[in-house]
Protein backbone atom coordinates (compact mmCIF):
# COMPACT_ATOMS: atom_id res chain seq x y z
CA UNK A 1 0.00 0.00 0.00
CA UNK A 2 2.78 2.35 0.92
CA UNK A 3 4.65 1.62 -2.28
CA UNK A 4 1.52 2.10 -4.35
CA UNK A 5 0.90 5.45 -2.74
CA UNK A 6 4.38 6.63 -3.57
CA UNK A 7 4.07 5.56 -7.17
CA UNK A 8 0.75 7.30 -7.59
CA UNK A 9 2.25 10.43 -6.13
CA UNK A 10 5.13 10.37 -8.57
CA UNK A 11 2.93 9.52 -11.52
CA UNK A 12 0.72 12.48 -10.77
CA UNK A 13 3.75 14.65 -10.55
CA UNK A 14 5.21 13.50 -13.83
CA UNK A 15 1.87 13.83 -15.56
CA UNK A 16 1.70 17.43 -14.43
CA UNK A 17 5.14 18.17 -15.74
CA UNK A 18 4.45 16.46 -19.01
CA UNK A 19 1.60 18.82 -19.79
CA UNK A 20 3.63 21.99 -19.79
CA UNK A 21 7.19 20.82 -20.14
CA UNK A 22 10.12 21.59 -17.96
CA UNK A 23 9.81 25.34 -18.29
CA UNK A 24 6.65 25.65 -16.24
CA UNK A 25 3.63 23.62 -15.32
CA UNK A 26 0.41 24.79 -13.76
CA UNK A 27 -2.52 22.69 -12.67
CA UNK A 28 -4.31 20.91 -9.91
CA UNK A 29 -1.91 18.01 -9.72
CA UNK A 30 -1.60 16.59 -6.27
CA UNK A 31 1.96 15.86 -5.32
CA UNK A 32 1.87 15.83 -1.59
CA UNK A 33 3.41 12.59 -0.52
CA UNK A 34 3.08 10.53 2.57
CA UNK A 35 5.30 10.83 5.59
CA UNK A 36 5.78 7.10 5.65
CA UNK A 37 6.73 7.07 2.03
CA UNK A 38 9.38 9.70 2.55
CA UNK A 39 10.72 8.00 5.64
CA UNK A 40 10.96 4.67 3.88
CA UNK A 41 12.96 5.98 0.98
CA UNK A 42 16.53 4.92 1.60
CA UNK A 43 18.27 6.53 -1.39
CA UNK A 44 16.46 9.77 -0.80
CA UNK A 45 17.20 9.66 2.91
CA UNK A 46 20.88 9.34 2.16
CA UNK A 47 20.75 12.29 -0.21
CA UNK A 48 18.86 14.34 2.35
CA UNK A 49 21.37 13.46 5.03
CA UNK A 50 24.21 14.60 2.82
CA UNK A 51 22.37 17.82 2.10
CA UNK A 52 21.73 18.55 5.76
CA UNK A 53 25.35 17.84 6.65
CA UNK A 54 26.55 20.49 4.20
CA UNK A 55 27.03 24.01 5.53
CA UNK A 56 24.04 26.28 5.04
CA UNK A 57 24.39 28.25 1.83
CA UNK A 58 23.33 31.86 1.94
CA UNK A 59 20.21 32.92 0.10
CA UNK A 60 20.37 36.02 -2.06
CA UNK A 61 16.91 37.50 -1.72
CA UNK A 62 14.87 35.61 0.88
CA UNK A 63 15.42 36.21 4.56
CA UNK A 64 16.67 33.28 6.64
CA UNK A 65 13.18 32.74 8.06
CA UNK A 66 11.58 32.84 4.60
CA UNK A 67 14.24 30.51 3.20
CA UNK A 68 13.67 27.94 5.95
CA UNK A 69 9.93 28.01 5.34
CA UNK A 70 10.31 27.70 1.59
CA UNK A 71 12.76 24.80 1.93
CA UNK A 72 10.27 23.00 4.16
CA UNK A 73 7.41 23.62 1.73
CA UNK A 74 9.20 22.44 -1.42
CA UNK A 75 10.35 19.39 0.53
CA UNK A 76 6.70 18.39 0.98
CA UNK A 77 5.55 19.40 -2.51
CA UNK A 78 8.02 17.15 -4.31
CA UNK A 79 9.40 14.92 -1.57
CA UNK A 80 12.25 12.49 -1.78
CA UNK A 81 11.17 8.90 -2.04
CA UNK A 82 12.38 5.55 -3.29
CA UNK A 83 12.29 6.84 -6.87
CA UNK A 84 14.84 9.50 -6.15
CA UNK A 85 15.61 12.87 -4.60
CA UNK A 86 12.99 15.59 -4.51
CA UNK A 87 12.73 19.36 -4.71
CA UNK A 88 14.96 19.98 -1.70
CA UNK A 89 17.81 18.04 -3.26
CA UNK A 90 17.16 19.74 -6.60
CA UNK A 91 17.67 23.05 -4.75
CA UNK A 92 14.35 24.35 -5.95
CA UNK A 93 14.26 26.87 -3.11
CA UNK A 94 17.62 28.25 -4.24
CA UNK A 95 16.31 28.52 -7.78
CA UNK A 96 13.30 30.50 -6.52
CA UNK A 97 15.47 32.68 -4.31
CA UNK A 98 17.76 33.56 -7.18
CA UNK A 99 14.90 34.17 -9.60
CA UNK A 100 13.18 36.48 -7.11
CA UNK A 101 16.05 38.88 -7.74
CA UNK A 102 15.50 38.71 -11.48
CA UNK A 103 12.96 36.95 -13.62
CA UNK A 104 10.51 36.43 -10.74
CA UNK A 105 11.09 39.79 -9.04
CA UNK A 106 7.42 40.66 -9.42
CA UNK A 107 6.60 37.76 -7.08
CA UNK A 108 8.93 38.86 -4.26
CA UNK A 109 6.20 40.58 -2.27
CA UNK A 110 3.84 37.63 -2.79
CA UNK A 111 6.47 35.36 -1.22
CA UNK A 112 7.07 37.69 1.72
CA UNK A 113 3.36 37.97 2.47
CA UNK A 114 2.46 34.38 1.61
CA UNK A 115 5.20 32.68 3.61
CA UNK A 116 4.44 34.81 6.66
CA UNK A 117 0.73 34.09 6.31
CA UNK A 118 1.31 30.36 5.94
CA UNK A 119 3.32 30.30 9.16
CA UNK A 120 0.66 32.38 10.96
CA UNK A 121 -1.96 29.92 9.74
CA UNK A 122 0.08 26.95 11.03
CA UNK A 123 0.32 28.63 14.44
CA UNK A 124 -3.36 29.57 14.54
CA UNK A 125 -4.70 26.21 13.40
CA UNK A 126 -2.15 23.65 14.63
CA UNK A 127 -0.56 25.54 17.54
CA UNK A 128 2.98 25.40 16.11
CA UNK A 129 5.00 27.07 13.43
CA UNK A 130 5.13 25.26 10.09
CA UNK A 131 8.73 24.14 10.64
CA UNK A 132 7.82 22.47 13.93
CA UNK A 133 4.99 20.39 12.50
CA UNK A 134 5.21 16.71 11.62
CA UNK A 135 5.33 15.80 7.93
CA UNK A 136 1.68 14.74 8.10
CA UNK A 137 0.62 18.03 9.69
CA UNK A 138 2.66 19.99 7.16
CA UNK A 139 0.79 18.18 4.40
CA UNK A 140 -2.51 18.93 6.13
CA UNK A 141 -1.66 22.65 6.31
CA UNK A 142 -0.57 22.70 2.68
CA UNK A 143 -3.79 21.01 1.59
CA UNK A 144 -5.81 23.69 3.34
CA UNK A 145 -3.67 26.40 1.78
CA UNK A 146 -4.09 24.75 -1.62
CA UNK A 147 -7.87 24.53 -1.35
CA UNK A 148 -8.31 28.07 -0.04
CA UNK A 149 -9.87 26.72 3.17
CA UNK A 150 -7.53 28.64 5.48
CA UNK A 151 -9.03 30.80 8.21
CA UNK A 152 -10.36 34.05 6.74
CA UNK A 153 -8.16 37.09 7.29
CA UNK A 154 -4.83 35.29 7.61
CA UNK A 155 -3.85 35.48 3.96
CA UNK A 156 -4.23 38.94 2.44
CA UNK A 157 -5.29 37.35 -0.83
CA UNK A 158 -6.17 33.83 -1.89
CA UNK A 159 -4.12 31.15 -0.17
CA UNK A 160 -4.85 28.94 -3.17
CA UNK A 161 -3.24 31.48 -5.45
CA UNK A 162 -0.12 31.53 -3.28
CA UNK A 163 -0.01 27.73 -3.30
CA UNK A 164 -0.21 27.65 -7.09
CA UNK A 165 2.59 30.22 -7.33
CA UNK A 166 4.91 28.20 -5.11
CA UNK A 167 4.01 24.91 -6.79
CA UNK A 168 4.75 26.30 -10.26
CA UNK A 169 8.07 27.72 -9.17
CA UNK A 170 8.96 24.51 -7.34
CA UNK A 171 8.40 22.56 -10.53
CA UNK A 172 10.53 25.03 -12.44
CA UNK A 173 13.29 24.73 -9.85
CA UNK A 174 13.15 20.95 -9.89
CA UNK A 175 12.82 20.27 -13.60
CA UNK A 176 14.19 23.38 -15.33
CA UNK A 177 17.64 23.70 -16.84
CA UNK A 178 20.28 23.66 -14.08
CA UNK A 179 21.65 26.87 -15.55
CA UNK A 180 18.95 28.70 -13.61
CA UNK A 181 20.04 27.39 -10.25
CA UNK A 182 17.75 24.45 -9.69
CA UNK A 183 17.65 20.83 -10.89
CA UNK A 184 20.92 20.33 -9.05
CA UNK A 185 22.94 17.40 -10.37
CA UNK A 186 20.14 16.89 -12.90
CA UNK A 187 18.05 15.07 -10.30
CA UNK A 188 14.83 16.41 -11.85
CA UNK A 189 15.70 15.25 -15.34
CA UNK A 190 16.81 11.88 -14.02
CA UNK A 191 13.48 11.55 -12.26
CA UNK A 192 11.68 12.24 -15.53
CA UNK A 193 14.00 9.99 -17.52
CA UNK A 194 14.95 12.96 -19.69
CA UNK A 195 18.23 12.12 -21.41
CA UNK A 196 19.40 15.74 -21.62
CA UNK A 197 19.82 18.47 -24.21
CA UNK A 198 21.38 17.21 -27.43
CA UNK A 199 22.29 19.11 -30.55
CA UNK A 200 22.62 15.95 -32.58
CA UNK A 201 20.90 12.59 -32.31
CA UNK A 202 22.33 9.64 -34.21
CA UNK A 203 20.18 6.73 -35.40
CA UNK A 204 21.72 4.69 -32.60
CA UNK A 205 20.75 7.38 -30.09
CA UNK A 206 17.21 7.40 -31.47
CA UNK A 207 16.92 3.63 -31.09
CA UNK A 208 18.27 3.78 -27.56
CA UNK A 209 15.89 6.62 -26.72
CA UNK A 210 12.88 4.68 -27.99
CA UNK A 211 13.99 1.69 -25.95
CA UNK A 212 14.38 3.89 -22.88
CA UNK A 213 18.08 3.11 -22.77
CA UNK A 214 19.63 6.40 -23.81
CA UNK A 215 22.03 7.35 -21.07
CA UNK A 216 21.51 10.87 -19.72
CA UNK A 217 24.29 13.20 -20.83
CA UNK A 218 23.78 15.54 -17.86
CA UNK A 219 24.44 18.64 -19.90
CA UNK A 220 22.75 21.99 -19.60
CA UNK A 221 21.68 23.77 -22.75
CA UNK A 222 24.31 26.36 -21.93
CA UNK A 223 27.07 23.78 -21.99
CA UNK A 224 26.85 24.03 -25.78
CA UNK A 225 28.66 26.88 -27.48
CA UNK A 226 25.95 27.38 -30.08
CA UNK A 227 23.19 27.55 -27.50
CA UNK A 228 23.51 30.81 -25.67
CA UNK A 229 21.11 32.98 -23.75
CA UNK A 230 20.05 34.92 -26.83
CA UNK A 231 18.95 31.81 -28.67
CA UNK A 232 17.48 30.26 -25.55
CA UNK A 233 15.11 33.15 -24.86
CA UNK A 234 11.54 31.87 -24.98
CA UNK A 235 8.22 33.20 -23.88
CA UNK A 236 7.07 31.91 -20.55
CA UNK A 237 4.18 29.56 -19.94
CA UNK A 238 3.87 30.75 -16.37
CA UNK A 239 3.22 34.38 -17.07
CA UNK A 240 5.99 36.10 -15.20
CA UNK A 241 8.86 33.72 -15.94
CA UNK A 242 11.15 34.71 -18.78
CA UNK A 243 14.26 32.75 -19.56
CA UNK A 244 17.49 34.40 -20.41
CA UNK A 245 17.41 37.09 -17.73
Amino acid sequence: MSEQSKLISRRDLLRGVGVAGVAAAAGPVSILSTPDAAAAAEPAAAAAQAASAAPREAFENLTAVEADLLEAIVDRLIPSDSLGPGAREARAAHYIDRALGGALASSRQAYAAGLAALDRYAHASRGKGFLELSASDKDSVLMDVESGATTPGIFAGSSAQFFTLVLNHTRQGTFGDPYYGGNSNFVGWDLLGYPGVRTMVTPADQKALEAGQLKPNHRSAYDYEGFNKATARVESHAGDMKHGD
Binding site: M1, G27, P28, D36, D139, S147, A149, T151, P152
Partner: protein, 208 residues
Protein backbone atom coordinates in the same frame (compact mmCIF):
# COMPACT_ATOMS: atom_id res chain seq x y z
CA UNK B 1 -62.56 1.91 -20.55
CA UNK B 2 -61.94 4.65 -18.10
CA UNK B 3 -62.84 2.41 -15.22
CA UNK B 4 -60.43 -0.28 -16.33
CA UNK B 5 -57.69 2.29 -16.76
CA UNK B 6 -58.28 3.55 -13.24
CA UNK B 7 -57.97 0.05 -11.84
CA UNK B 8 -54.66 -0.43 -13.55
CA UNK B 9 -53.47 2.89 -12.16
CA UNK B 10 -54.52 1.92 -8.63
CA UNK B 11 -52.79 -1.44 -8.95
CA UNK B 12 -49.58 0.15 -10.19
CA UNK B 13 -49.67 2.71 -7.41
CA UNK B 14 -50.15 0.05 -4.78
CA UNK B 15 -47.32 -1.96 -6.28
CA UNK B 16 -44.96 0.99 -6.09
CA UNK B 17 -46.06 1.78 -2.54
CA UNK B 18 -45.47 -1.81 -1.49
CA UNK B 19 -42.02 -1.69 -3.00
CA UNK B 20 -41.15 1.52 -1.13
CA UNK B 21 -42.38 0.13 2.18
CA UNK B 22 -40.37 -3.04 1.67
CA UNK B 23 -37.14 -1.06 1.15
CA UNK B 24 -37.56 1.54 3.87
CA UNK B 25 -34.26 1.45 5.76
CA UNK B 26 -34.12 0.86 9.49
CA UNK B 27 -33.32 3.89 11.61
CA UNK B 28 -29.69 4.09 12.75
CA UNK B 29 -28.90 6.40 15.68
CA UNK B 30 -25.77 8.43 14.95
CA UNK B 31 -23.92 10.12 17.81
CA UNK B 32 -20.46 11.48 18.55
CA UNK B 33 -18.36 12.06 21.63
CA UNK B 34 -17.57 15.55 20.37
CA UNK B 35 -20.27 16.57 17.90
CA UNK B 36 -23.75 17.41 19.17
CA UNK B 37 -26.88 17.42 17.06
CA UNK B 38 -27.69 20.98 15.93
CA UNK B 39 -24.65 22.49 17.65
CA UNK B 40 -21.42 24.03 16.40
CA UNK B 41 -18.66 21.69 15.25
CA UNK B 42 -15.50 22.15 17.37
CA UNK B 43 -12.64 23.90 15.57
CA UNK B 44 -10.49 20.78 15.76
CA UNK B 45 -12.57 19.25 12.99
CA UNK B 46 -12.23 22.24 10.67
CA UNK B 47 -9.34 23.96 8.87
CA UNK B 48 -9.46 26.57 11.65
CA UNK B 49 -8.00 23.79 13.80
CA UNK B 50 -6.20 20.53 13.03
CA UNK B 51 -8.82 19.48 10.50
CA UNK B 52 -9.10 16.01 12.04
CA UNK B 53 -12.02 13.81 11.14
CA UNK B 54 -14.49 13.70 14.07
CA UNK B 55 -15.31 10.54 16.00
CA UNK B 56 -18.69 8.99 15.18
CA UNK B 57 -20.70 6.27 16.90
CA UNK B 58 -23.87 4.50 15.86
CA UNK B 59 -26.40 1.94 17.02
CA UNK B 60 -29.37 0.18 15.50
CA UNK B 61 -27.56 -1.36 12.55
CA UNK B 62 -29.77 -4.18 11.17
CA UNK B 63 -28.47 -7.72 11.48
CA UNK B 64 -28.64 -8.12 7.72
CA UNK B 65 -25.96 -5.46 7.23
CA UNK B 66 -22.77 -6.64 5.54
CA UNK B 67 -20.98 -3.30 5.34
CA UNK B 68 -21.38 0.31 6.40
CA UNK B 69 -20.64 3.61 4.70
CA UNK B 70 -20.44 7.22 5.88
CA UNK B 71 -20.81 10.48 3.98
CA UNK B 72 -20.40 14.01 5.33
CA UNK B 73 -22.06 16.59 3.12
CA UNK B 74 -23.03 20.26 3.22
CA UNK B 75 -26.30 20.97 1.41
CA UNK B 76 -25.72 24.71 1.89
CA UNK B 77 -22.77 24.67 -0.54
CA UNK B 78 -21.59 23.06 -3.74
CA UNK B 79 -22.41 23.57 -7.36
CA UNK B 80 -24.65 21.68 -7.47
CA UNK B 81 -25.16 20.96 -3.75
CA UNK B 82 -24.22 19.19 -1.63
CA UNK B 83 -20.52 19.85 -1.17
CA UNK B 84 -18.90 16.61 -0.02
CA UNK B 85 -16.41 16.66 2.86
CA UNK B 86 -15.96 12.99 3.55
CA UNK B 87 -16.73 9.60 2.07
CA UNK B 88 -15.92 6.33 3.85
CA UNK B 89 -17.03 2.90 2.70
CA UNK B 90 -16.29 -0.78 3.19
CA UNK B 91 -16.58 -0.22 6.93
CA UNK B 92 -17.07 -3.59 8.66
CA UNK B 93 -20.68 -4.15 9.71
CA UNK B 94 -19.40 -4.96 13.19
CA UNK B 95 -17.95 -1.47 13.65
CA UNK B 96 -19.70 0.68 16.24
CA UNK B 97 -18.31 3.92 14.91
CA UNK B 98 -15.32 5.69 13.41
CA UNK B 99 -12.44 6.82 15.64
CA UNK B 100 -11.21 10.39 15.60
CA UNK B 101 -8.57 11.53 13.10
CA UNK B 102 -8.55 8.91 10.39
CA UNK B 103 -5.30 8.91 8.38
CA UNK B 104 -4.86 11.62 5.78
CA UNK B 105 -2.71 9.44 3.58
CA UNK B 106 -3.58 6.12 2.02
CA UNK B 107 -0.31 4.55 3.15
CA UNK B 108 -1.28 4.67 6.82
CA UNK B 109 -3.36 1.74 7.98
CA UNK B 110 -6.90 2.24 9.20
CA UNK B 111 -7.52 1.72 12.94
CA UNK B 112 -8.15 -1.89 13.95
CA UNK B 113 -11.91 -1.49 14.50
CA UNK B 114 -12.43 -0.35 10.93
CA UNK B 115 -9.79 -2.36 9.11
CA UNK B 116 -10.64 -2.54 5.44
CA UNK B 117 -12.51 0.76 5.40
CA UNK B 118 -11.69 3.01 2.47
CA UNK B 119 -11.88 6.79 2.31
CA UNK B 120 -13.50 7.98 -0.89
CA UNK B 121 -12.93 11.11 -2.92
CA UNK B 122 -14.37 14.30 -1.42
CA UNK B 123 -15.26 17.63 -2.98
CA UNK B 124 -11.64 18.71 -2.77
CA UNK B 125 -10.80 15.68 -4.95
CA UNK B 126 -8.88 14.04 -2.17
CA UNK B 127 -9.50 10.70 -0.49
CA UNK B 128 -9.66 11.99 3.09
CA UNK B 129 -11.65 14.17 5.44
CA UNK B 130 -11.53 17.94 5.03
CA UNK B 131 -13.70 19.82 7.45
CA UNK B 132 -16.09 22.74 7.18
CA UNK B 133 -14.76 25.95 5.67
CA UNK B 134 -17.88 27.93 4.77
CA UNK B 135 -17.57 31.51 3.57
CA UNK B 136 -18.41 34.02 6.31
CA UNK B 137 -22.06 34.96 6.42
CA UNK B 138 -24.28 32.21 7.74
CA UNK B 139 -23.93 28.82 9.40
CA UNK B 140 -23.81 25.78 7.16
CA UNK B 141 -25.28 22.39 8.05
CA UNK B 142 -23.06 19.33 7.95
CA UNK B 143 -24.83 15.99 7.62
CA UNK B 144 -22.91 12.94 8.81
CA UNK B 145 -24.94 10.16 7.19
CA UNK B 146 -24.43 6.49 8.05
CA UNK B 147 -25.64 3.75 5.68
CA UNK B 148 -26.01 0.05 6.45
CA UNK B 149 -25.74 -2.11 3.34
CA UNK B 150 -26.98 -5.63 2.72
CA UNK B 151 -24.14 -6.42 0.33
CA UNK B 152 -20.45 -5.54 0.21
CA UNK B 153 -19.38 -2.91 -2.27
CA UNK B 154 -17.44 -4.45 -5.11
CA UNK B 155 -14.14 -2.63 -5.40
CA UNK B 156 -11.91 -3.32 -8.37
CA UNK B 157 -8.15 -3.36 -7.94
CA UNK B 158 -6.60 -0.08 -8.92
CA UNK B 159 -9.94 1.71 -8.97
CA UNK B 160 -9.78 5.33 -7.76
CA UNK B 161 -11.57 5.96 -4.46
CA UNK B 162 -15.31 6.37 -5.03
CA UNK B 163 -16.95 9.77 -5.03
CA UNK B 164 -20.23 10.37 -3.20
CA UNK B 165 -22.16 10.00 -6.47
CA UNK B 166 -20.39 6.75 -7.34
CA UNK B 167 -20.93 5.39 -3.86
CA UNK B 168 -24.64 6.24 -3.84
CA UNK B 169 -24.96 4.61 -7.24
CA UNK B 170 -23.16 1.50 -6.01
CA UNK B 171 -25.35 1.11 -2.91
CA UNK B 172 -28.65 1.85 -4.60
CA UNK B 173 -31.15 -0.83 -3.60
CA UNK B 174 -28.85 -2.15 -0.87
CA UNK B 175 -29.52 0.32 1.95
CA UNK B 176 -31.07 -1.55 4.88
CA UNK B 177 -30.35 1.07 7.54
CA UNK B 178 -29.73 4.79 7.59
CA UNK B 179 -29.27 7.62 10.07
CA UNK B 180 -27.57 10.96 10.41
CA UNK B 181 -26.18 13.56 12.77
CA UNK B 182 -26.39 17.20 11.68
CA UNK B 183 -24.02 19.78 13.14
CA UNK B 184 -23.28 23.37 12.15
CA UNK B 185 -20.30 25.58 11.47
CA UNK B 186 -19.98 29.28 10.73
CA UNK B 187 -17.03 31.53 10.03
CA UNK B 188 -16.60 35.22 10.57
CA UNK B 189 -14.20 37.70 8.98
CA UNK B 190 -13.37 38.58 5.39
CA UNK B 191 -13.96 35.93 2.77
CA UNK B 192 -10.98 34.70 0.76
CA UNK B 193 -10.93 35.90 -2.82
CA UNK B 194 -11.94 33.28 -5.36
CA UNK B 195 -9.16 31.02 -6.58
CA UNK B 196 -7.78 31.95 -9.99
CA UNK B 197 -9.84 30.76 -12.94
CA UNK B 198 -8.79 27.42 -14.35
CA UNK B 199 -7.65 25.85 -11.12
CA UNK B 200 -9.32 22.52 -11.31
CA UNK B 201 -9.41 21.86 -7.61
CA UNK B 202 -11.19 25.09 -6.73
CA UNK B 203 -13.92 24.93 -9.30
CA UNK B 204 -17.41 24.10 -8.24
CA UNK B 205 -16.85 24.55 -4.54
CA UNK B 206 -19.37 27.28 -4.10
CA UNK B 207 -18.27 27.81 -0.50
CA UNK B 208 -18.14 24.80 1.77
Amino acid sequence: MRHVGGSILVALTLGVAHSVVAQTPAKIAVTSATLKEGETIPRQYTPDGRNDSPPLAWSGVPGSAKELAVICEDPDAGNPPPFVHWVVYKIPATAKGLPEALPIDAATKMPADVTGAVQGTNGFRRALYRGPAPPPGKPHHYHFVVYALDAPIAAKAGQPPLTRAELLDAIKGHIVGQGELVALYERTGPAQPEAPAGRGRGRGRGGN
